[in-house]
Protein backbone atom coordinates (compact mmCIF):
# COMPACT_ATOMS: atom_id res chain seq x y z
CA UNK A 1 0.00 0.00 0.00
CA UNK A 2 2.94 2.30 0.77
CA UNK A 3 4.19 1.79 -2.81
CA UNK A 4 0.82 2.89 -4.15
CA UNK A 5 0.65 5.93 -1.90
CA UNK A 6 4.25 6.85 -2.71
CA UNK A 7 3.59 6.67 -6.45
CA UNK A 8 6.03 3.82 -7.13
CA UNK A 9 7.46 4.09 -10.68
CA UNK A 10 6.94 0.40 -11.50
CA UNK A 11 3.37 0.58 -10.30
CA UNK A 12 2.66 3.70 -12.36
CA UNK A 13 4.21 1.98 -15.37
CA UNK A 14 1.88 -1.01 -14.84
CA UNK A 15 -1.18 1.21 -14.49
CA UNK A 16 -0.26 3.22 -17.60
CA UNK A 17 0.32 0.06 -19.65
CA UNK A 18 -3.02 -1.37 -18.46
CA UNK A 19 -4.81 1.77 -19.60
CA UNK A 20 -2.88 1.91 -22.88
CA UNK A 21 -3.61 -1.71 -23.79
CA UNK A 22 -7.26 -1.79 -22.71
CA UNK A 23 -7.92 1.77 -23.92
CA UNK A 24 -6.55 1.06 -27.39
CA UNK A 25 -8.39 -2.27 -27.55
CA UNK A 26 -11.61 -0.53 -26.49
CA UNK A 27 -11.14 2.19 -29.11
CA UNK A 28 -10.64 -0.42 -31.84
CA UNK A 29 -13.59 -2.48 -30.54
CA UNK A 30 -15.80 0.59 -30.58
CA UNK A 31 -14.74 1.51 -34.11
CA UNK A 32 -15.58 -2.02 -35.28
CA UNK A 33 -18.42 -2.89 -32.91
CA UNK A 34 -20.73 0.14 -33.13
CA UNK A 35 -20.94 0.21 -36.96
CA UNK A 36 -21.29 -3.60 -37.04
CA UNK A 37 -23.99 -3.58 -34.35
CA UNK A 38 -25.86 -0.73 -36.09
CA UNK A 39 -25.66 -2.53 -39.43
CA UNK A 40 -26.94 -5.79 -37.98
CA UNK A 41 -29.68 -4.04 -36.03
CA UNK A 42 -30.94 -1.92 -38.90
CA UNK A 43 -30.66 -4.13 -41.98
CA UNK A 44 -32.08 -7.46 -43.06
CA UNK A 45 -29.84 -9.66 -45.19
CA UNK A 46 -29.41 -13.38 -45.91
CA UNK A 47 -27.36 -15.04 -43.19
CA UNK A 48 -28.25 -12.44 -40.55
CA UNK A 49 -29.47 -15.08 -38.09
CA UNK A 50 -26.21 -17.01 -38.44
CA UNK A 51 -24.18 -13.81 -37.97
CA UNK A 52 -26.24 -12.94 -34.89
CA UNK A 53 -25.63 -16.40 -33.43
CA UNK A 54 -21.88 -16.01 -34.09
CA UNK A 55 -21.89 -12.57 -32.50
CA UNK A 56 -23.70 -13.81 -29.40
CA UNK A 57 -21.22 -16.70 -29.18
CA UNK A 58 -18.40 -14.13 -29.38
CA UNK A 59 -19.96 -12.22 -26.47
CA UNK A 60 -19.47 -15.26 -24.28
CA UNK A 61 -15.98 -16.19 -25.51
CA UNK A 62 -13.69 -17.19 -22.62
CA UNK A 63 -10.75 -14.73 -22.73
CA UNK A 64 -8.23 -17.52 -22.22
CA UNK A 65 -9.50 -19.26 -25.37
CA UNK A 66 -9.11 -16.01 -27.30
CA UNK A 67 -5.60 -15.75 -25.86
CA UNK A 68 -4.81 -19.26 -27.02
CA UNK A 69 -6.21 -18.48 -30.47
CA UNK A 70 -4.11 -15.31 -30.82
CA UNK A 71 -1.07 -17.10 -29.40
CA UNK A 72 -1.31 -19.85 -32.03
CA UNK A 73 -1.92 -17.31 -34.80
CA UNK A 74 1.03 -15.10 -33.92
CA UNK A 75 3.56 -17.72 -32.84
CA UNK A 76 6.49 -18.24 -35.20
CA UNK A 77 5.07 -21.49 -36.49
CA UNK A 78 1.52 -20.08 -36.69
CA UNK A 79 -0.18 -18.91 -39.91
CA UNK A 80 0.38 -15.20 -39.25
CA UNK A 81 3.70 -15.49 -37.41
CA UNK A 82 5.36 -16.90 -40.53
CA UNK A 83 4.35 -13.91 -42.65
CA UNK A 84 6.53 -11.37 -40.84
CA UNK A 85 4.22 -8.53 -41.86
CA UNK A 86 5.32 -5.27 -40.25
CA UNK A 87 1.83 -4.29 -39.02
CA UNK A 88 1.21 -7.64 -37.32
CA UNK A 89 2.16 -7.56 -33.65
CA UNK A 90 4.67 -10.07 -32.29
CA UNK A 91 3.88 -12.34 -29.36
CA UNK A 92 4.79 -11.01 -25.90
CA UNK A 93 4.28 -7.38 -26.91
CA UNK A 94 1.54 -4.89 -25.98
CA UNK A 95 0.41 -5.12 -29.62
CA UNK A 96 -0.48 -8.80 -29.22
CA UNK A 97 -2.36 -7.98 -25.99
CA UNK A 98 -4.33 -5.25 -27.77
CA UNK A 99 -5.23 -7.68 -30.56
CA UNK A 100 -6.48 -10.28 -28.09
CA UNK A 101 -8.49 -7.77 -26.08
CA UNK A 102 -10.02 -6.29 -29.23
CA UNK A 103 -11.25 -9.76 -30.21
CA UNK A 104 -12.75 -10.16 -26.73
CA UNK A 105 -14.44 -6.74 -26.62
CA UNK A 106 -15.80 -6.07 -30.10
CA UNK A 107 -18.54 -8.75 -29.99
CA UNK A 108 -19.72 -7.27 -26.69
CA UNK A 109 -19.84 -3.75 -28.17
CA UNK A 110 -21.51 -4.96 -31.39
CA UNK A 111 -24.02 -7.24 -29.67
CA UNK A 112 -25.21 -4.68 -27.13
CA UNK A 113 -25.29 -1.95 -29.80
CA UNK A 114 -27.41 -4.18 -32.03
CA UNK A 115 -29.85 -4.82 -29.18
CA UNK A 116 -29.97 -1.11 -28.31
CA UNK A 117 -30.67 -0.04 -31.90
CA UNK A 118 -33.34 -2.72 -32.31
CA UNK A 119 -35.03 -1.37 -29.17
CA UNK A 120 -35.65 2.06 -30.73
CA UNK A 121 -39.29 2.69 -31.76
CA UNK A 122 -39.55 0.96 -35.17
CA UNK A 123 -41.73 3.79 -36.52
CA UNK A 124 -39.07 6.38 -35.82
CA UNK A 125 -36.79 5.31 -38.66
CA UNK A 126 -39.43 5.76 -41.33
CA UNK A 127 -40.55 9.05 -39.83
CA UNK A 128 -37.08 10.60 -39.81
CA UNK A 129 -36.59 9.44 -43.38
CA UNK A 130 -39.86 11.15 -44.22
CA UNK A 131 -38.38 14.34 -42.72
CA UNK A 132 -35.55 14.12 -45.26
CA UNK A 133 -32.80 12.21 -43.46
CA UNK A 134 -30.17 10.55 -45.63
CA UNK A 135 -29.30 6.92 -44.71
CA UNK A 136 -26.21 8.18 -42.87
CA UNK A 137 -28.17 10.84 -40.94
CA UNK A 138 -30.84 8.26 -40.16
CA UNK A 139 -28.28 5.81 -38.73
CA UNK A 140 -26.64 8.51 -36.60
CA UNK A 141 -30.01 9.63 -35.26
CA UNK A 142 -31.04 6.08 -34.36
CA UNK A 143 -27.68 5.51 -32.64
CA UNK A 144 -28.19 8.75 -30.77
CA UNK A 145 -31.70 7.64 -29.72
CA UNK A 146 -30.18 4.35 -28.52
CA UNK A 147 -27.30 6.15 -26.79
CA UNK A 148 -28.02 4.73 -23.34
CA UNK A 149 -27.65 1.21 -24.70
CA UNK A 150 -24.71 2.13 -26.94
CA UNK A 151 -22.77 3.57 -23.98
CA UNK A 152 -23.63 0.44 -21.99
CA UNK A 153 -22.14 -1.60 -24.86
CA UNK A 154 -18.87 0.33 -24.59
CA UNK A 155 -18.88 -0.05 -20.80
CA UNK A 156 -19.49 -3.80 -21.19
CA UNK A 157 -16.58 -4.00 -23.64
CA UNK A 158 -14.32 -2.10 -21.26
CA UNK A 159 -15.41 -4.26 -18.32
CA UNK A 160 -14.69 -7.37 -20.32
CA UNK A 161 -11.07 -6.43 -21.02
CA UNK A 162 -9.81 -4.27 -18.15
CA UNK A 163 -10.47 -7.15 -15.76
CA UNK A 164 -9.42 -10.10 -17.92
CA UNK A 165 -6.20 -11.95 -17.19
CA UNK A 166 -6.17 -15.13 -19.26
CA UNK A 167 -5.57 -13.64 -22.69
CA UNK A 168 -3.02 -10.97 -21.68
CA UNK A 169 -1.12 -13.54 -19.64
CA UNK A 170 -0.90 -15.94 -22.59
CA UNK A 171 -0.01 -13.51 -25.38
CA UNK A 172 1.81 -10.91 -23.22
CA UNK A 173 3.75 -13.19 -20.92
CA UNK A 174 3.61 -10.82 -17.90
CA UNK A 175 7.12 -9.47 -18.63
CA UNK A 176 8.18 -6.72 -16.19
CA UNK A 177 8.60 -3.27 -17.78
CA UNK A 178 7.21 -4.67 -21.04
CA UNK A 179 3.87 -6.48 -20.83
CA UNK A 180 2.96 -6.51 -17.15
CA UNK A 181 -0.52 -5.08 -16.54
CA UNK A 182 -2.55 -4.78 -13.36
CA UNK A 183 -4.36 -8.12 -13.65
CA UNK A 184 -1.21 -10.14 -14.40
CA UNK A 185 0.64 -8.29 -11.61
CA UNK A 186 -2.15 -9.26 -9.17
CA UNK A 187 -1.77 -12.94 -10.19
CA UNK A 188 2.02 -12.73 -9.74
CA UNK A 189 1.90 -11.01 -6.35
CA UNK A 190 -0.73 -13.48 -5.09
CA UNK A 191 1.44 -16.40 -6.13
CA UNK A 192 4.42 -14.79 -4.32
CA UNK A 193 2.31 -14.47 -1.18
CA UNK A 194 2.28 -10.65 -1.29
CA UNK A 195 -1.43 -10.51 -0.55
CA UNK A 196 -1.31 -6.91 0.67
CA UNK A 197 0.16 -5.68 -2.59
CA UNK A 198 -2.21 -7.88 -4.59
CA UNK A 199 -5.20 -6.37 -2.76
CA UNK A 200 -3.84 -2.86 -3.22
CA UNK A 201 -3.40 -3.48 -6.98
CA UNK A 202 -6.94 -4.82 -7.05
CA UNK A 203 -8.20 -1.61 -5.47
CA UNK A 204 -6.30 0.44 -8.06
CA UNK A 205 -7.93 -1.65 -10.81
CA UNK A 206 -11.39 -1.19 -9.30
CA UNK A 207 -10.84 2.56 -8.97
CA UNK A 208 -9.74 2.82 -12.61
CA UNK A 209 -12.79 0.87 -13.77
CA UNK A 210 -15.08 3.05 -11.65
CA UNK A 211 -13.61 6.34 -12.87
CA UNK A 212 -13.63 5.24 -16.51
CA UNK A 213 -17.25 4.11 -16.31
CA UNK A 214 -18.18 7.36 -14.61
CA UNK A 215 -16.62 9.29 -17.50
CA UNK A 216 -18.43 7.14 -20.07
CA UNK A 217 -21.77 7.62 -18.34
CA UNK A 218 -21.46 11.33 -19.08
CA UNK A 219 -21.85 10.44 -22.74
CA UNK A 220 -25.34 9.03 -22.19
CA UNK A 221 -26.84 12.47 -21.80
CA UNK A 222 -25.41 13.80 -25.05
CA UNK A 223 -26.62 13.59 -28.62
CA UNK A 224 -24.27 12.96 -31.51
CA UNK A 225 -26.31 13.14 -34.68
CA UNK A 226 -26.18 16.08 -37.12
Amino acid sequence: MQRILAGDATLIETVVLSLQVSGTALLLSTLIGIPLGAFMGLTRFPGRRLMTALLYTGMGFPPVVVGLFVYLLLSRSGPLGQLNWPFLPALFTPGAMILAQTIIAFPLVAGFTMAAVMGVDPHLRQQIQALGATPWQSTLTLLSEARVGVVVSVIAGFGGIISEVGAVMLVGGNIEHKTRVLTTAIVLETRKGNFGLAIALGLVLLSLAFLTNLAMLQLQGRTFDP
Binding site: H123, Q126, Q127, I128, Q129, A130, L131, G132, E145, P226
Partner: protein, 248 residues
Protein backbone atom coordinates in the same frame (compact mmCIF):
# COMPACT_ATOMS: atom_id res chain seq x y z
CA UNK B 1 -56.92 22.53 -62.53
CA UNK B 2 -53.34 23.69 -62.04
CA UNK B 3 -50.20 21.79 -62.97
CA UNK B 4 -49.90 18.25 -61.61
CA UNK B 5 -47.31 17.90 -58.86
CA UNK B 6 -47.47 14.10 -59.12
CA UNK B 7 -48.32 11.87 -62.00
CA UNK B 8 -48.48 8.12 -61.36
CA UNK B 9 -48.43 5.80 -64.35
CA UNK B 10 -48.82 2.02 -64.13
CA UNK B 11 -47.64 1.99 -60.52
CA UNK B 12 -47.78 -1.31 -58.66
CA UNK B 13 -46.40 -2.35 -55.29
CA UNK B 14 -45.85 -6.01 -54.51
CA UNK B 15 -44.70 -7.41 -51.16
CA UNK B 16 -43.54 -10.96 -50.44
CA UNK B 17 -45.70 -12.90 -47.99
CA UNK B 18 -44.30 -15.05 -45.16
CA UNK B 19 -45.26 -18.14 -47.16
CA UNK B 20 -42.89 -17.07 -49.95
CA UNK B 21 -45.58 -15.86 -52.33
CA UNK B 22 -46.19 -12.34 -53.58
CA UNK B 23 -49.09 -10.03 -52.81
CA UNK B 24 -49.93 -6.98 -54.90
CA UNK B 25 -51.14 -4.29 -52.50
CA UNK B 26 -51.33 -1.38 -54.93
CA UNK B 27 -52.17 -1.02 -58.60
CA UNK B 28 -52.65 2.53 -59.85
CA UNK B 29 -53.04 2.93 -63.61
CA UNK B 30 -53.12 6.70 -63.76
CA UNK B 31 -53.38 9.34 -61.04
CA UNK B 32 -52.58 13.02 -61.04
CA UNK B 33 -52.29 15.15 -57.93
CA UNK B 34 -52.44 18.86 -58.58
CA UNK B 35 -50.60 21.78 -57.02
CA UNK B 36 -52.31 23.35 -53.99
CA UNK B 37 -55.12 20.83 -53.81
CA UNK B 38 -56.20 18.70 -50.87
CA UNK B 39 -56.77 15.16 -52.08
CA UNK B 40 -58.32 12.74 -49.60
CA UNK B 41 -57.67 9.03 -50.02
CA UNK B 42 -60.44 7.00 -48.42
CA UNK B 43 -61.05 3.30 -48.24
CA UNK B 44 -61.16 0.40 -45.85
CA UNK B 45 -58.13 -0.91 -43.93
CA UNK B 46 -55.68 -2.75 -46.15
CA UNK B 47 -56.82 -0.91 -49.28
CA UNK B 48 -53.29 0.37 -50.00
CA UNK B 49 -53.73 3.97 -48.83
CA UNK B 50 -50.69 4.08 -46.55
CA UNK B 51 -48.60 2.21 -49.13
CA UNK B 52 -49.49 4.86 -51.71
CA UNK B 53 -48.47 7.56 -49.23
CA UNK B 54 -45.07 5.90 -48.65
CA UNK B 55 -44.49 5.83 -52.40
CA UNK B 56 -45.46 9.51 -52.67
CA UNK B 57 -42.87 10.30 -49.97
CA UNK B 58 -40.28 8.19 -51.86
CA UNK B 59 -39.75 6.03 -48.77
CA UNK B 60 -39.85 2.95 -50.98
CA UNK B 61 -39.86 2.53 -54.76
CA UNK B 62 -42.77 1.12 -56.75
CA UNK B 63 -42.38 -2.46 -57.94
CA UNK B 64 -43.40 -1.33 -61.42
CA UNK B 65 -44.33 1.92 -63.08
CA UNK B 66 -43.23 5.51 -62.60
CA UNK B 67 -44.14 8.33 -60.26
CA UNK B 68 -43.35 11.71 -61.80
CA UNK B 69 -42.80 14.38 -59.16
CA UNK B 70 -42.36 17.88 -60.54
CA UNK B 71 -41.33 16.22 -63.78
CA UNK B 72 -38.68 14.01 -62.17
CA UNK B 73 -39.29 10.24 -62.55
CA UNK B 74 -39.20 7.86 -59.55
CA UNK B 75 -39.25 4.21 -60.54
CA UNK B 76 -37.72 0.87 -59.47
CA UNK B 77 -34.41 1.86 -61.05
CA UNK B 78 -34.47 5.66 -60.60
CA UNK B 79 -34.18 7.31 -57.20
CA UNK B 80 -35.60 10.70 -56.40
CA UNK B 81 -32.86 13.32 -55.85
CA UNK B 82 -32.50 14.33 -52.19
CA UNK B 83 -33.37 17.98 -52.84
CA UNK B 84 -36.72 17.01 -54.38
CA UNK B 85 -37.36 14.28 -51.81
CA UNK B 86 -37.02 16.94 -49.11
CA UNK B 87 -39.87 18.98 -50.60
CA UNK B 88 -42.28 16.28 -49.39
CA UNK B 89 -42.92 15.13 -45.84
CA UNK B 90 -45.41 12.95 -43.97
CA UNK B 91 -47.25 13.13 -40.67
CA UNK B 92 -48.05 9.60 -39.58
CA UNK B 93 -50.94 8.23 -37.57
CA UNK B 94 -48.71 7.33 -34.66
CA UNK B 95 -46.10 10.05 -34.11
CA UNK B 96 -42.64 8.77 -33.18
CA UNK B 97 -40.78 11.64 -31.58
CA UNK B 98 -37.13 11.84 -30.63
CA UNK B 99 -36.27 11.49 -26.95
CA UNK B 100 -35.52 15.22 -26.70
CA UNK B 101 -37.40 18.43 -26.07
CA UNK B 102 -40.33 19.51 -28.22
CA UNK B 103 -38.16 22.34 -29.57
CA UNK B 104 -35.42 19.92 -30.64
CA UNK B 105 -37.97 17.68 -32.31
CA UNK B 106 -39.30 20.55 -34.38
CA UNK B 107 -35.74 21.67 -35.15
CA UNK B 108 -34.65 18.20 -36.26
CA UNK B 109 -35.63 18.38 -39.96
CA UNK B 110 -34.05 21.83 -40.24
CA UNK B 111 -30.80 20.47 -38.78
CA UNK B 112 -30.79 17.73 -41.41
CA UNK B 113 -30.82 20.51 -44.00
CA UNK B 114 -28.15 22.58 -42.25
CA UNK B 115 -30.74 25.19 -41.20
CA UNK B 116 -30.84 24.46 -37.48
CA UNK B 117 -30.49 28.15 -36.53
CA UNK B 118 -33.86 29.19 -37.97
CA UNK B 119 -35.34 30.04 -34.55
CA UNK B 120 -38.18 32.17 -35.92
CA UNK B 121 -39.44 29.33 -38.10
CA UNK B 122 -39.41 26.93 -35.16
CA UNK B 123 -41.25 29.43 -32.97
CA UNK B 124 -43.81 30.09 -35.70
CA UNK B 125 -44.44 26.36 -36.22
CA UNK B 126 -44.88 25.78 -32.49
CA UNK B 127 -47.19 28.79 -32.30
CA UNK B 128 -49.27 27.46 -35.18
CA UNK B 129 -49.99 24.16 -33.41
CA UNK B 130 -50.37 25.76 -29.96
CA UNK B 131 -47.25 24.22 -28.41
CA UNK B 132 -45.13 27.32 -27.77
CA UNK B 133 -45.55 26.93 -24.02
CA UNK B 134 -44.32 23.33 -24.14
CA UNK B 135 -41.21 23.99 -26.25
CA UNK B 136 -38.77 23.01 -23.50
CA UNK B 137 -40.72 20.00 -22.29
CA UNK B 138 -39.54 16.49 -23.10
CA UNK B 139 -41.45 15.08 -26.06
CA UNK B 140 -41.97 11.87 -24.08
CA UNK B 141 -44.20 13.76 -21.62
CA UNK B 142 -46.69 14.96 -24.24
CA UNK B 143 -50.25 13.65 -24.45
CA UNK B 144 -51.36 11.88 -27.64
CA UNK B 145 -52.88 15.03 -29.12
CA UNK B 146 -49.88 17.20 -28.19
CA UNK B 147 -47.49 14.64 -29.67
CA UNK B 148 -49.41 14.65 -32.94
CA UNK B 149 -49.34 18.46 -33.01
CA UNK B 150 -45.58 18.35 -32.38
CA UNK B 151 -45.25 15.92 -35.29
CA UNK B 152 -47.28 18.33 -37.44
CA UNK B 153 -45.06 21.25 -36.36
CA UNK B 154 -41.85 19.37 -37.23
CA UNK B 155 -43.29 18.75 -40.69
CA UNK B 156 -44.64 22.27 -41.26
CA UNK B 157 -41.43 23.98 -40.13
CA UNK B 158 -39.83 22.52 -43.27
CA UNK B 159 -42.33 24.46 -45.42
CA UNK B 160 -42.92 21.44 -47.67
CA UNK B 161 -44.46 21.71 -51.12
CA UNK B 162 -46.36 18.52 -50.38
CA UNK B 163 -47.73 17.49 -46.98
CA UNK B 164 -48.79 13.85 -46.68
CA UNK B 165 -51.07 12.99 -43.77
CA UNK B 166 -51.66 9.37 -42.79
CA UNK B 167 -54.69 9.23 -40.50
CA UNK B 168 -53.38 12.26 -38.56
CA UNK B 169 -56.38 12.57 -36.26
CA UNK B 170 -57.25 8.93 -35.60
CA UNK B 171 -57.90 8.38 -31.89
CA UNK B 172 -57.68 12.10 -31.03
CA UNK B 173 -60.21 14.12 -29.08
CA UNK B 174 -62.46 16.63 -30.91
CA UNK B 175 -60.36 19.64 -29.78
CA UNK B 176 -57.17 18.23 -31.30
CA UNK B 177 -59.02 17.06 -34.42
CA UNK B 178 -60.38 20.56 -34.96
CA UNK B 179 -57.03 22.21 -34.33
CA UNK B 180 -55.15 19.90 -36.70
CA UNK B 181 -57.77 20.26 -39.42
CA UNK B 182 -57.58 24.04 -39.09
CA UNK B 183 -53.79 24.01 -39.39
CA UNK B 184 -53.95 21.75 -42.45
CA UNK B 185 -56.54 24.02 -44.09
CA UNK B 186 -54.45 27.13 -43.40
CA UNK B 187 -51.28 25.47 -44.66
CA UNK B 188 -53.06 24.69 -47.90
CA UNK B 189 -54.72 28.09 -48.31
CA UNK B 190 -51.96 30.40 -47.08
CA UNK B 191 -48.88 28.57 -48.30
CA UNK B 192 -50.39 26.77 -51.26
CA UNK B 193 -49.07 23.42 -50.06
CA UNK B 194 -50.43 20.33 -51.76
CA UNK B 195 -51.99 17.99 -49.19
CA UNK B 196 -52.72 14.29 -49.56
CA UNK B 197 -54.81 13.06 -46.66
CA UNK B 198 -55.40 9.40 -45.87
CA UNK B 199 -58.43 8.97 -43.67
CA UNK B 200 -61.09 6.47 -42.68
CA UNK B 201 -63.29 9.36 -41.71
CA UNK B 202 -65.47 10.34 -44.66
CA UNK B 203 -66.75 13.36 -42.74
CA UNK B 204 -63.20 14.64 -42.38
CA UNK B 205 -62.59 14.05 -46.07
CA UNK B 206 -65.69 16.07 -46.86
CA UNK B 207 -64.66 18.90 -44.50
CA UNK B 208 -61.12 19.24 -45.81
CA UNK B 209 -60.70 17.88 -49.32
CA UNK B 210 -61.11 19.38 -52.75
CA UNK B 211 -61.09 15.95 -54.35
CA UNK B 212 -61.60 12.47 -52.91
CA UNK B 213 -60.32 9.11 -54.17
CA UNK B 214 -61.68 5.73 -53.09
CA UNK B 215 -59.22 2.85 -52.90
CA UNK B 216 -60.37 -0.75 -52.71
CA UNK B 217 -57.95 -3.69 -52.71
CA UNK B 218 -55.13 -1.52 -54.03
CA UNK B 219 -57.07 -0.01 -56.93
CA UNK B 220 -58.49 3.45 -57.31
CA UNK B 221 -62.22 3.00 -57.86
CA UNK B 222 -63.16 6.63 -58.30
CA UNK B 223 -61.60 10.08 -58.05
CA UNK B 224 -63.91 13.05 -58.04
CA UNK B 225 -64.49 16.53 -56.68
CA UNK B 226 -65.80 16.44 -53.14
CA UNK B 227 -69.42 17.29 -54.07
CA UNK B 228 -69.60 14.76 -56.89
CA UNK B 229 -67.93 12.09 -54.78
CA UNK B 230 -70.39 12.36 -51.96
CA UNK B 231 -73.57 13.43 -53.81
CA UNK B 232 -73.25 11.92 -57.28
CA UNK B 233 -70.77 9.02 -57.19
CA UNK B 234 -70.22 7.28 -60.51
CA UNK B 235 -69.38 3.89 -59.06
CA UNK B 236 -71.91 2.03 -56.89
CA UNK B 237 -69.08 0.97 -54.57
CA UNK B 238 -68.34 4.64 -53.85
CA UNK B 239 -71.97 5.18 -52.91
CA UNK B 240 -71.92 2.14 -50.66
CA UNK B 241 -68.73 3.33 -48.97
CA UNK B 242 -70.03 6.85 -48.44
CA UNK B 243 -73.31 5.54 -46.98
CA UNK B 244 -71.38 3.22 -44.66
CA UNK B 245 -72.91 0.16 -46.28
CA UNK B 246 -69.64 -1.39 -47.34
CA UNK B 247 -68.70 -4.36 -45.17
CA UNK B 248 -64.94 -4.73 -44.63
Amino acid sequence: MSQPVYRLQGVTKVYPTPSGQERCVLQVEDLRIFRSEILALVGPSGAGKSTLLRLLNFLEPPTQGTIHFLGQPFSPDREMPLALRRRVTTVFQRPALLNRSVWENVRYGLRLRGEGNARERIQAALELVGLRELADQSARQLSGGEAQRAALARALVLEPDVLLLDEPTANLDPYNVGLIEDVVRRTNQERGATVVLVTHNVFQARRLAHRVALLLEGRIIEVAGVEDFFERPCDPRTGAFVRGEMIY
